[in-house]
Amino acid sequence: MTAMAAAARRWRVARISARYEVSQPGRVTGVAVQLALQIFLMWCLWRALYAVSPTNSGLSEAQALAYAVLGVLYTRLRGPDRSIAEDTVAQHVREGRISYWFLRPLEPRHYHRLRAIGDQAYGFAWAVGGYLVCLLVGLVQKPVSATALWVFLVSLLLGQVVLYHLLAITDVATFWLVDNTGVIGIIAFAQSLFAGAIAPLWFFPGWFQTLSSWLPFQSSFHIPVSIYVGRIPAGSAARDLVVQLLWCLLLSLVLRWLWGRAGRRVIVQGG
């Protein structure tokens, strides 16, 4: 019962951002329309590109389209836009409201994690919904085999953990970058670019792919999706899974270290 009550308490904290969105039907409709438009544009773009050349960078039209569509859905995994609700970590730090995080019997990093998991789970629900619709209308094909599906699911889970850490590290970095919203924007863009969510990494020059392979971002999206579309065969994905796992561990250590430093460095604006 106590465990149940504790879980219920965590759930109510985790769902806050989702509550912002679902309590405003206009926002939910807006998100749905935006996703549909983006996916439609992807369909137009990739059809036009493949009309010129039937195979590019080892991806068939169906594979490229599936990759691009899943890339659009991936952007939803960041969760609802909290900036409208003045509830991003950067906003809390900039306006001094972060003080309240340090006055509660819940460590700021634990509170942040609960919220981040809630946001990501909500975004994931959207992505799954969008995926099912795309599967139904034929924009995305099923995985090539049952093995590919299972390997993809494991890779997807690891990818979610990597994404959580990347987003959390960006959030904690705002403790230092309080006046540098531009830098925060660049980090967010780099995450999507190197993850492959803007355009499939297979289409980039070799040096870019090499650079990307040394960065954690592709573990969050490019690897699981490449497994899904069959560009990375499930049978030879072990190395990629290990890379993802290593990034999970390394990023969790970085995040832990950053939170320790952030706690010591809390500077609230105004005197």
């Binding site: 609700a85 003080s99 019997p105 005197g271």
Partner: protein, 330 residues
């Protein structure tokens, strides 16, 4: 005297913010090799607050009040000095300390901007692990005092300033903390809501026995709520004592302006200072002399108008800040 709820000894806080030079070059430089300034926000602050006492922590802008409150509440670690809040060191024992304190920082809300206030209260209940029954009982009492139910289904985005501050006060007290820090809670509020908040604070001290540290620039608030004030200037305590004593020690005394039909006889009365227009002006430091003069004047038939003035608290504060370059010895 009760056990001290708050003990601060020799507090010092130095900030080292990065200095950014203007222009693109300056931005690049601040990223590669940042330079840091040294700002002493709090130089030397010591005072104690007893359980169930309300003190006003006063000082001009930038004096170090807010930094002091942030150290006391455990948000900031002092560069030097010691703090104990209900016996605990707040910045070392944040989680346990959180149950003992509540805080409102001016217009910065701790409520979730797009959630109805009642849902924010429920989230805080979950974070503080308050039981449903206790939460309902406390919320009911707070509603009775602050009239929350008329607007608690609205999100802070759609509340007036007065409503938001009332909701924030409730949020700060829902976990029933014995010690409350309020940093300019009534700033920008209208007179009616201000009075409601003052009444609320009086109730919290008198009936609930809470210890309150209040910062404000509103001197009428100070005179109505606090018996004791701690004045800070340039990061140091320049006065710590009763409000009445402060007025006696630093006030310029009393002044009486009187308009009479025939003023010849009154010019020889002790305390006469000057004639300003139609009015005779009397003044002095001795309150007894002031009372005697008021009695004398009210018995005279020739008096047409009588005005008794005492020092404005704001003027007294300004005098203290100017005169007390040397901090109080404690």
């Amino acid at each position: 005297m009760n056990n001290p709820a708050i003990e601060a000894r020799g507090l010092k806080k130095v900030f080292t913010p990065a200095i950014r030079q203007p222009g693109f070059k300056g931005t690049v430089r601040s990223l590669i090799a940042p330079e840091h300034a040294e700002i002493v926000a709090v130089a030397d602050v010591s005072f104690t607050v007893a359980e169930g006492e309300l003190i006003a922590l006063l000082g001009p802008n930038g004096a170090g009040k807010s930094t002091t409150i942030k150290i006391l509440s455990g948000i900031l670690t002092p560069t030097a000095g010691e703090v104990r809040i209900a016996g605990r060191i707040p910045y070392q024992d944040r989680i346990a300390n959180a149950h003992n304190i509540g805080a409102v920082f001016g217009q910065r809300t701790q409520l979730w901007w797009d959630l109805p206030a009642r849902e924010s209260f429920a989230v805080l209940r979950d974070i503080f692990k308050t039981s449903l029954a206790d939460h309902a009982r406390r919320l009911d009492e707070l509603d009775g005092l602050l009239e929350l139910s008329s607007f608690w289904d609205r999100s802070p985005r759609h509340m007036s300033l007065g409503q938001r501050v009332r909701a924030d006060l409730a949020a700060a007290l829902l976990h029933d903390p014995p010690i409350v820090f309020l940093d300019e809670p009534t700033i920008g509020m209208d007179a009616v809501v201000k009075e409601q908040v003052r009444e609320f604070l009086r109730f919290q001290v008198a009936e609930r026995g809470r210890t309150i540290v209040l910062t404000t620039h509103d001197m009428s608030e100070v005179s109505r709520l606090a018996e004791r004030v701690v004045l800070i200037n340039h990061g140091r305590v320049v006065y710590d004592g009763g409000l009445v004593e402060l007025q006696q020690d630093y006030g310029s005394g009393w002044q009486i302006r009187v308009v009479v039909d025939d003023d010849a006889a009154l010019r020889d009365v002790p305390g006469f200072l000057a004639k300003e227009g139609a009015a005779l002006v009397f003044g002095g430091d001795d309150p007894g002399e002031q009372r005697r003069l008021v009695r004398l004047l009210t018995e005279l038939d020739v008096v047409r108008n009588l005005e008794v003035r005492s020092d404005d608290l704001e003027d007294i504060m300004a005098t203290v800040y100017q005169r007390r370059a040397v901090p109080v010895a404690r």
